[in-house]
């Protein structure tokens, strides 16, 4: 067994590189500074009248610096730089009255009064928003649409407690990791249903939506501090408006793409699982595709593709990737949350070779019972890599972060287990890339995510695709799912 510490991977910004997204943006501006980018983000806003006013007020506040949280952990909680054409992002949010669509209180009240079935209520609420999204898409074509949820709506109608799980507060609790298990019962299933259904149904209008609670204007104690909320919100908006806030730093000129392969169960929890794949390049640009259903036989512990299904899924994905980016990758890294069997390895390899990719790494990334302990109160450092065998490795993606000078989590962190089923690159490089990919989440500017974006994306996409009928074509961009 062998242990080493991988250094924090740097990210590429407009005029320089840095390990931290926030400092990177403040100092070096967004990655796409010199290219075509969202300098003026046309934004639609939908919601109840008073909530919309609250959020507009908050958007105005966000044009200027928002003070940092009072803390000795300055690097973890820096001030927000302000979102305007002269500040770090060099971008601004624009809208006029025509972009604001207000939903009457009476429309909400009418649904509650006349419908007792919970699921129906959710559907009808979603329809209220969808009608306005449709209008904006047809008449104004904004870059992003903010769907504002009032706190009253959340509390009294959906019965949600105070857990943080809106887009704009995506921070620690939502899907970070082990914390989720502890907090599951506190996270409102109802609200998740609403969010996912809204995102699924909004897809056909081709405009990414951002769900935002009006309480972000007055965050309560258990929420993030105002500056952090602003960082996460504006970074997500910039990305959803087709911007690239930061990119992975390339090691050399090889064109590499990273694909995440996962399965999701339909809402009726049938034995069939559907495969999905996402392919990203180092800028986070890429495509998301739905594959074939996979029949789970009794006794199967995890779903597997047949050789042909594996071949078709990857071949199709690489073609779509080429269509979107007009470039063929030279190396392909496949991440999967379950083990690869012989048929899958064969199928994926054939598809890769057919597309002239001769370097392929097949990597399983999963939860584990294995842990490392240090002396002292803090857990192992993020980047600690323990190799049990040549093909089994443990990687601490959450842990003590020297840059933050703390462990920014609430529970003892659990590492991830990395299994290499077939690899052309060294285990260390593969783990370094996984560490770098944990930073490629534009929903969050705190860089110590547990899973790489390939896996995190799978989960989010699966959750939303469940609400999409088989005949509907899913959006290929991640911004429609995050």
């Amino acid at each position: 067994m062998n242990i080493k510490l991988l250094s924090e991977p740097p990210l590429q910004f407009g005029t320089g590189e840095h390990i931290d997204p926030k400092t990177g943006i403040i100092t070096f501006n967004p990655y796409d500074l010199q290219g075509v980018r969202p300098e003026r983000i046309k934004t639609g806003i939908i919601g109840k009248s008073d909530s919309v006013d609250t959020v507009i007020g908050w958007l105005n506040t966000g044009k200027r610096i928002i003070a940092a949280k009072k803390s000795t952990l300055g690097k973890l909680f820096p001030e927000f730089c302000g979102f305007s054409k002269t500040d770090a992002f060099k971008s601004e949010i624009i809208y006029d009255e025509g972009y604001i669509r207000k939903i009457n209180n009476s429309d909400f009240d009418h649904i509650i009064k006349n419908e007792k079935r919970y699921w129906k209520i959710i559907e009808e609420f979603v329809t209220l928003y969808i009608n306005e999204i449709k209008f904006l898409a047809k008449n104004k074509n904004p870059d992003v649409i903010l769907c504002v949820l009032s706190e009253k709506f959340i509390q009294s109608i959906l019965g949600a407690p105070t857990a943080e799980n809106t887009d704009a507060e995506s921070a620690s609790a939502e899907d970070a990791d082990e914390e989720k298990d502890e907090q599951d019962e506190f996270i409102s299933r109802q609200e998740n249903n609403f969010r996912r259904l809204l995102k699924a149904r909004a897809m056909e209008y081709n405009i990414p939506i951002q769900i935002v609670r009006d309480r972000i204007a007055k965050p309560s104690g258990e929420m993030q501090d105002p500056a952090t909320i602003a960082w996460n919100f504006y970074t997500a908006i910039y990305y959803k408006a087709s911007g690239t806030p930061w990119a992975m730093k390339k090691k050399d000129s090889t064109i590499v793409c990273y694909a995440g392969i996962s399965f999701y169960k339909s809402r009726d929890r049938a034995t069939t699982q559907t495969s999905i794949t996402q392919i990203f390049n180092e800028h986070g640009k890429g495509v998301i595709l739905r594959g074939q259903p996979v029949e789970m036989k009794k006794g199967d512990l995890e779903p597997h593709l047949t050789e042909l299904q594996a071949y078709d899924l990857l071949d199709y994905s690489l073609k779509e990737y080429y269509e979107a980016l007009k470039v063929y990758p030279q190396r392909l890294v496949l991440h999967k949350t379950s083990n690869f069997n012989a048929a899958e390895i064969e199928g994926f390899k054939s598809a890769a070779y057919k597309n002239n990719i001769h370097a392929v790494d097949m990597v399983t990334i999963m939860r584990t019972d294995l842990r490392l302990y240090r002396e002292g109160p803090y857990p192992p450092l993020r980047g600690t890599m323990a190799s049990y065998t040549d093909t089994t490795h443990l990687l601490y993606t959450r842990g003590f972060v020297p840059y933050y000078n703390t462990y920014p989590g609430s529970y003892i962190p659990a590492p991830i287990e990395i299994r290499l089923f077939s690899h052309d690159e060294s285990p260390e490089l593969i783990c370094e890339e996984i560490l770098a990919l944990t930073k490629m989440n534009w929903n969050n500017t705190q860089f110590d995510r547990k899973f790489p974006i390939t896996i995190e994306c799978s989960r989010k996409v699966g959750e939303i695709l469940k609400y999409l009928s088989p005949e509907q074509t899913p959006q290929i961009k991640y911004s429609f799912y995050m």
Binding site: M1, S7, T27, T72, E182, T389
Partner: protein
């Protein structure tokens, strides 16, 4: 008097700084980044009250024209060891060319070492025009200027803080450390011990396999005459377990049924072995365990099951029970009366650890539930060696056995309070329990034993990582 003493010492230590940089420069080793994080940023904060960050934090490209920046106060520092006017002009040129004046109103050129005795300022005005107010006398500084600035500080406390900081940073040890880091970055390793949560398992040399020979239907029907009735489709394990009960034998857990075969580490050739009553003795086959688990994935799973059942048996002798619904092992009361339980163990000295707590209501009159120390345990195979991974946790019961509904209120808060040390010592304690007798009348289980852990693994790092292990006040609880 103290003040003068401190200032004299500060001057000496700043002199060391200048000397160090001079020596490194001479050896062509100087690198701003090595001093920026550890020396300059804290020093400028102490002397000027500015919150600088290193613009070149990451390896690679320099952020042109400035090294250190304070965005809030709009101040930038260019740090250089070259003192001549050409370097100053070059800095100003870069600053203007890259429009740094849009972000920063003040630029200091900080010469580490000694600046020239005088600068003519020739060419400065042409370069900066009206975009930057740059005064050669005010904005080109060196350690002497820094000392003057420090001398002007009124607060004695502040001066002491600077002295203390420099004392630490310019100790011979630190200077040597930086030199080594620059000479050969790979040679300077931040090392510490880390421990796996794995305990090496010793498994017997022989695994016994035999066909089961019981009248399944008769046992199921016989069970109907007792309190615990079996269903006709009861699992083979349940039926065999009931057969053992009905035969009046002590219940044992360390066997596994797969198909119609019994697997165990118990010696089935031993006439005293009770399990012989339930097998076809002519079919007993001894095997090397490895021959069995290497057949295929299914056999490896069966082998893991026999390890798990053996662990359950081992722990039951220590009053630690397997709780199937939560897949955990829970410390149980030693006797029939449910009360607080402590276990004596040894860390560095002998110590007692409470493994069952009585939790009282607000008035401290009534026990509302029991908190049991517990753990998850899984077998893992690495390089032909079996290990047990152990993760401490908590379990709550209403009466020592039945799961308490209060767990959901107690558990998250408790887990939030735990840090690395809590869990690490929990793991060490469990390891101790697995490798020592913890009850006075404990029967030693011979079919599965564990080696006292710790693989002392050393974590190495080619970068210099300075960690402040003191928990700041508002650090989120681990």
């Amino acid at each position: 008097m103290n003040r003068q003493k401190s200032l004299t010492r500060i001057a000496e230590l700043l002199g060391r700084f200048t000397t160090e940089v001079g020596l490194l420069n001479a050896a062509n080793l100087y690198d701003i980044n090595i001093h920026a994080e550890n020396v300059l940023i804290p020093l400028i904060k102490l002397a000027y009250g500015l919150d600088m960050v290193n613009a070149n934090y990451t390896k690679g490209k320099n952020f042109s024209a400035v090294d250190l920046i304070d965005n809030k106060n709009r101040v930038a520092f260019q740090v250089t060891s070259t003192a001549d006017n050409e370097k100053i002009k070059h800095t100003l040129n870069q600053f203007i060319k890259h429009e740094r004046y849009l972000s920063y109103d003040i630029l200091f050129v900080y010469i580490i070492g000694n600046k020239q005795s005088a600068y003519t300022g020739k060419g400065h005005a042409e370069i900066v025009q009206d975009k930057l107010a740059f005064d050669k006398d005010e904005h080109i500084i060196d350690n002497n200027d820094l000392f003057k600035k420090i001398s002007g500080i009124v607060s004695l406390q502040q001066i002491s803080a600077i002295e203390q900081f420099l004392e630490e940073e310019f100790s011979e040890q630190k200077i040597e450390f930086r030199k080594k880091a620059l000479e050969n970055p790979a040679s300077v390793k931040h090392t510490e011990h880390v421990y796996f949560n794995l305990i090496e398992a010793n498994i017997p040399e022989t695994l016994y396999i035999a066909d089961i020979a019981i009248d399944r239907e008769a046992i199921i029907k016989e069970s109907w005459t007792t309190e615990y009735k079996l269903k006709m489709d009861a699992s083979p394990r349940k039926v065999l377990r009931r057969a053992i009960d009905l035969a009046g034998l002590t219940r044992i857990a360390d066997w596994h049924v797969t198909g119609n075969q019994l697997l165990t580490f118990r010696n089935l050739h031993d006439p005293a072995e009770p399990l012989r009553n339930f097998i076809d003795q002519g079919t007993i086959t001894p095997l090397k365990p490895k021959e069995y688990w290497t057949i295929d994935a299914d056999h490896q799973r069966s082998f893991t099951s026999i390890l798990n059942f053996s662990l359950q048996q081992l722990l039951s002798h220590k009053a630690i029970h397997y709780i199937g619904e939560d897949d955990i092992y829970r410390y149980q009361p030693e006797g029939k009366i449910v009360k607080q339980r402590t276990v004596e163990w040894k860390k560095t000295k002998r110590a007692k650890r409470t493994v069952i707590f009585e939790l009282f209501d607000k008035n401290k009159e009534q026990i509302v539930c029991f908190r049991h120390f517990s753990f998850e345990a899984k077998f893992n195979l690495y390089d032909e060696q079996w290990y047990l991974s152990v993760n401490p946790t908590w379990s709550f019961t209403s009466n020592g056995y039945k799961k308490s509904g209060l767990a959901k209120y107690y558990a998250p808060g408790l887990k939030r309070l735990e840090n690395n040390n809590t869990i690490y010592y929990g793991f060490r304690f469990i390891s101790y329990c697995l490798t020592h007798n913890i009850l006075s009348d404990e029967i030693t289980f011979p079919y599965l034993t564990f080696n006292t852990p710790f693989f002392d693994e050393v974590l190495t790092d080619t970068e210099v990582v300075e960690i402040d292990e003191n928990v700041p006040e508002d650090t989120p609880l681990e």
